[in-house]
């Protein structure tokens, strides 16, 4: 393969990592830009993948291993692509690298957090616990380097600077502007959970113990706020009964008009999380259509076969607080034609995926559709999209897509197509 221009990949989640690696492993130079201080994106927050119930960290580990040994990929974390201009073959890209206040000398010894007096809400755990103002984004962080949330610091505090024997903390670190020329661009900016507070009937943020599916992942995860114990947030009581509310925001013209395509499998997986810890727990899944295409059908059959799993056709449309921290959900059991009112310990809203770029400062040169996706047909030549930035799909499909998109980007970089 002859040498041509670089490929810019925007977004360091599983799609971006895959695109970058797959392109680089045929010898292409890739610049991978991630907004947060670590790669890994959404999947790094998952406890397990459906349908195999294996940890995403396992696949990430292999990918990070590929990345560590790879001279062709240049990674910019804590960085934002501001602007893409020019044409296929020679795009000009402007990147802003925000300071993390910890440089590459960081060895991960953790002495800084021991002395840090301030705390911040831990976004990695969906705000359910806290970290120090200087923190490691997560245990699998790539690069494995601490960062400082400066606004969370006590004014004038420099205890971490003194505690670091390695000169890794640099409170004077400045924002850098980087300009690059690349041949092609891949947008792999992924998704964020739909803001469930907008679902006025669903009680998220007003009724205790109504959580979203990302919180459920964190609660079930060993690196989460409860070290993987499924306890309800208000009183840390083990969950004995739980309702999953499908299509919380998805397939809804008032919210996300499309199907997010992962939430059914997500909730089925969550049902397994709950039952693994408490086989006696009662699990109710309220759905419109169970969407488990292809081989995933085996998974729904497996979960359905669990004696304590009850799947009900009918959407939950009302959630109110019950007694003693309980939650009351209301839905119609459509096949039996009766309204049901269930009083359970916890409710998980299977919130859909909203493209990350929706409602954000836009990247000049990248075109979104009205839902915030980055469809291929709206982009100029040489700009591609993949994963959930393009359309709502699962991890497996995102990886396929990203592998193919890597080839598309290579074609442009080669000037062949």
């Amino acid at each position: 393969m002859n040498e041509q221009g670089k490929i810019l990949v925007i977004g360091g989640g599983i799609s971006g990592i895959t695109t970058a690696l797959e392109a680089s492993e045929v010898g292409r130079d890739v610049v991978l830009v991630e907004r947060s201080p670590t790669l890994g994106g959404r999947v790094s927050r998952f406890h397990q993948y459906f349908p195999k119930l294996c940890p995403p960290t396992c696949g990430l580990e292999i990918n990070y291993k590929r990345l560590r040994a790879n001279p062709h990929v240049q990674v910019y974390t804590n960085s934002k692509v501001l602007d893409v201009s020019g044409a296929a073959g020679s795009f000009k890209v402007k990147i802003r690298k925000d300071p993390t206040f910890v440089n590459e000398k960081c060895v991960g010894c953790d002495h800084c957090t021991e002395v840090c007096p301030s705390e911040r809400s831990n976004d990695f755990n969906a705000g359910m616990d806290k970290t120090k103002a200087i923190f490691l984004p997560n245990k699998m962080a790539y690069p494995p380097r601490y960062v400082i949330d400066r606004p969370a610091c006590e004014p004038g505090c420099s205890k971490c600077v003194d505690a670091c024997k390695y000169g890794a903390v640099d409170l004077e670190m400045k924002t850098q502007e980087i300009e690059l020329e690349v041949a092609s661009v891949v947008v792999a900016t992924g998704w964020k959970p739909y803001n469930a507070s907008k679902l006025t009937n669903m009680g998220f943020s007003t009724v205790p113990n109504v959580i979203n599916n990302i919180m459920m992942e964190r609660i079930a995860s060993v690196s989460g706020p409860t070290k993987g114990q499924i306890l309800r947030p208000s009183d840390q009581k083990p969950v004995e009964s739980i309702v999953f509310v499908q299509c919380a925001g998805s397939r809804d013209e008032n919210h996300l008009p499309y199907c997010s395509s992962i939430c059914c499998l997500g909730s089925l997986k969550h049902a397994k999380y709950v039952l693994e810890q408490n086989p006696e727990a009662k699990v109710h899944i309220f759905y419109i259509d169970i969407r488990t295409p292809g081989k995933y059908e085996d998974f729904v059959r497996k979960v359905q076969a669990e004696p304590n799993v009850n799947m009900i056709k009918g959407k939950v449309a009302k959630i109110v607080a019950g007694k003693d921290g309980g939650v009351v959900v209301e839905a119609e059991d459509i096949i039996r034609q009766r309204k049901v009112h269930l009083d359970v310990d916890m409710v998980v809203l299977a919130t859909g995926m909203e493209p990350s770029l929706k409602g954000q400062t836009q990247i000049a040169g990248i075109n979104l559709d009205e839902d915030g996706f980055v469809p291929a047909e709206l982009q100029q030549k040489g700009i591609f999209s993949t994963g959930v930035a393009k359309r709502p799909v699962d991890v497996n499909s995102s990886i396929q897509d990203s592998t193919g998109t890597a080839l598309k980007a290579i074609q442009t970089a080669l000037g062949v197509s």
Binding site: C247, R251, N254, I288, G314, K315, A317, E332, Q337, K339
Partner: protein, 385 residues
């Protein structure tokens, strides 16, 4: 399995519904959000999800005998929350008008009431009829009533002539309503055989009347709470006007027969007059609120012609009634008599076609509410739907 029923999808019925208020009904994907957010539905066999399905399939026979259509008070909580924009509230309204049409006797009138041309004909009848009567009666004296002072509407059309027009119209309407209602109730009985949990008929009537007068169901609405007040104003306004109109008629005939009673038109501070004016104002503000609400919600809830004709008719009845008095008192003869003429036309439309226009809900809804209590709908599970 017993009780397997054959379902025949009725395309033209569906198309009709979509044209008459249920434009988006097909997009419903049966999640039943509507049913859950409905403040009025009972838990067993709840509505309106099942009605949405029947509407999508065009199951006319099942729908026209559906009691739950009338338990719905069009709060539109369902429409607001519907994830598919299917507007169940509108669909229920469209289904109610379908029911009125279905049972209406003669059916031709209610069919007419759903189209512009049909309505033109329906209006033309009283317009011509009343115009002809006025002409015949007054051509002899060269329309002297126009210049007589003070303005007395009876000079144009005497009370007895008015009654000769409106009493038959009322009887016509009553007969039609009777025919329609008895078929409707027959349908309800077939679809919902009374259960042990039902109330006795007098109790059911008492209960239903109490519910209607208190607007207890309207008050449960979430989205359209203000409609409760508007509808109440309008309903009591019309009841008041109904009473005062009849009171005036009675007074008139008492006088005719030599009793010593107040002459009409009544003076301003006569109790009946006060009641009439208060009622008119109440009805007017009611209708004003309703129209304002409808216009405000026009993005989310679309009204059919059937609804607008009804609202428009009500509005004009009240409007012209008030203006008649205003013009009479301010002594503007031409305007006054013309307005009075329009008023009569509007009232005729309202009265004569009462059971075929949306006005017909005043028959069907109470009937369904009574039957719901009588059959035990609100308490017992009815599996035989």
């Amino acid at each position: 399995m017993t009780g397997r029923v054959t379902v025949n999808a009725d395309l033209s019925f569906v198309e009709g519904l979509m044209q008459h208020g249920g434009a988006d009904l097909k997009t419903c994907y049966q999640c039943s959000t509507c049913t859950v957010v409905c403040p009025l539905t009972p838990d067993e066999l709840p509505f309106p999800r099942k009605e949405m399905l029947s509407a999508q399939w065009g199951l006319r026979d099942k729908l026209v005998k559906n009691m739950d259509l009338w338990l719905c008070h069009n709060c539109n909580d369902c429409t607001e929350q519907c994830p598919r924009g299917a507007k169940p509230g509108d669909v229920m309204a469209a289904l109610r008008s379908q029911t009125i049409e279905h049972f209406s006797y003669p059916a031709v009138i209610s069919r007419a009431a759903k189209t512009l041309n049909g309505n033109a004909v329906l209006f033309l009848i009283p317009m011509v009829l009343i115009a002809v009567v006025i002409t015949l009666l007054n051509i002899g004296d060269g329309f002297a009533f126009l210049s007589a002072k003070p303005i007395v509407y009876a000079n144009m059309l005497s009370v007895s002539i008015v009654d000769m027009l409106f009493v038959p119209a009322g009887l016509f309407a009553a007969f039609n309503a009777y025919k329609g209602l008895s078929n409707f109730i027959g349908g309800l009985k077939a679809q919902y055989p009374p259960t042990d949990g039902g109330e006795s008929l007098p109790a059911a009537v008492r209960g239903a009347v109490k519910d209607v007068l208190s607007h207890i169901e309207f008050k449960k609405c979430g989205t359209n709470k203000s409609r409760n007040v508007a509808h109440m104003l309008m309903m009591y306004g019309f009841i008041g006007l109904f009473i005062t109109t009849n009171a005036v008629m009675i007074l008139h005939y008492l006088k005719e027969f030599g009793f010593d009673v107040q002459e009409t038109p009544l003076p301003f501070f006569h109790p009946v007059k006060i009641l009439a004016n208060v009622s008119a104002l109440a009805a007017f503000s009611g209708i004003y609120f309703i129209v304002r609400e409808r216009v405000k919600n026009s993005a989310t809830s679309v009204l059919s012609l059937f609804d607008w004709m009804f609202i428009g008719n009500m509005f004009l009845v009240i409007m012209t009634g008030i203006l008649c008095q205003v013009f009479r008192v301010s002594d503007q003869a031409n305007l006054a008599f013309f307005t009075y003429y329009i008023h009569l036309v509007m009232v005729f439309y309202m009265v004569a076609y009462a059971s075929q226009t949306k006005f017909g809900h005043i028959f069907y809804r109470p009937a369904a509410l009574i039957y719901a209590r009588y059959s035990g709908r609100n308490k017992e599970i009815i599996r035989d739907l």
